[in-house]
Symmetry: C2
DNA sequence: GTCTATATTAAGATAGAC
DNA sequence: GTCTATCTTAATATAGAC
């Protein structure tokens, strides 16, 4: 559908630098709260140079969101209908938690977008993601009906997984303040806690 | 410490209108993503008139955050050390969920502030709130040691309550998309779900 | 207290040299 | 491809009339 203009090595490198810097800033301040000056400064490129690689500020933002949508659902896709139900869900929780640990900026970019009313996502969310969600809801319901999982509201179960795992990225500042004087890594304990939580909730 | 200039009725009314409009906009776009024009339009007042009531944009924002800090901890303060442990926690969860339902904009204002690194909150959070948090952590630990609650990491327990309840306000757009075609109120089912979750996790 | 007009700076984007 | 200079619009804030 699209032309595929071959990118030189330097082009790739600079596009990456811009997107990386933009992710830093957009994930913290949202689209409207972010300025090209900030992205320029963070990336080490000049402002006109940004606009040589991306026609507009919005285009940078959209590119980031598009990339995010590619990977963000991988953990849910990986839930295996043939697997052992509780283990499948615990593994899903673990994968989501690792996403928060390893890609906190992406999580916050997403959070910012939703907070602002998901202007870009609204349509995208109704498409593929919605279908995947419904599919896993049905799967969880089947497992519960077969007595392999305790009965809970399957949609809210998924919301709870998203909420509990993304919280460690989105509210990281707050977590660090409350976890005490010198912030050791909260993720190992978070993993243990969440494993306990979902095991107790879902064991039939 | 401060002068207390008596406010006329019209002053109170206009200040309220401004703060209410500002809450609308700040909670959606964050401090930097919000413009005075938006607040002016939403409140129905002219832009110079905003600045008659509040010296700067920042002053409006700070006022909102200060008010928020007043009430935001009430649900946690209300946990009764003399009460029945599981019921106290379930009631706390319920109060937090009601805050999300009744004051979603406040929840999102808070979320935005944390996402942006909590520039205003950092110091405030280390003060009173931190003390209250530690006090309840100790209380939960006591209850667990007495065998009145199942053992879990008490700090992460509190994070989980915040996360699960605030999620319904902060990610409301997403929730509505996934809950289906015509969005009935998600809160009754959320309340039931969370009650089940915390009962199963915490029953000794 | 509220308004119109305006000063001033910041921000997105472009022109054109190199 | 990158830079300096600059255009244009938007945004915070102020002045001063009413």
């Amino acid at each position: 559908m699209n032309e595929t203009p071959p990118l030189s090595r330097i082009q790739k490198k600079n596009r990456r630098a811009i997107l990386d810097a933009a992710l830093d800033v957009f994930s913290q301040y949202g689209f409207r709260g972010t300025t090209l000056d900030q992205i320029a400064q963070t990336s080490g490129l000049s402002k006109p140079n940004l606009l040589y690689y991306f026609p507009t500020k919005e285009d940078i933002h959209t590119t980031l969101l598009d990339e995010l949508m590619q990977d963000w659902q991988d953990p849910m896709r990986a839930i295996d209908p043939e697997g052992e139900p509780l283990e499948e869900i615990l593994d899903y929780v673990q994968r989501k938690l690792e996403m928060s640990r390893d890609f906190p900026r992406e999580s916050r970019l997403f959070a910012n977008e939703i907070l602002q009313g998901a202007p870009q996502f609204l349509d995208a969310l109704k498409g593929g993601p919605r279908h995947l969600f419904d599919e896993k809801v049905a799967l969880f319901q089947t497992w519960m009906d077969q007595g392999k999982l305790a009965q809970v509201h399957p949609q809210h179960l998924i919301f709870s997984i998203w909420s509990l795992t993304q919280h460690y990225a989105d509210f990281e500042v707050q977590i660090r303040i409350y976890l005490g004087p010198e912030g050791k890594d909260p993720y190992p304990e978070a993993g243990k806690f969440l494993r306990t939580l979902f095991t107790r909730m879902l064991t039939p």
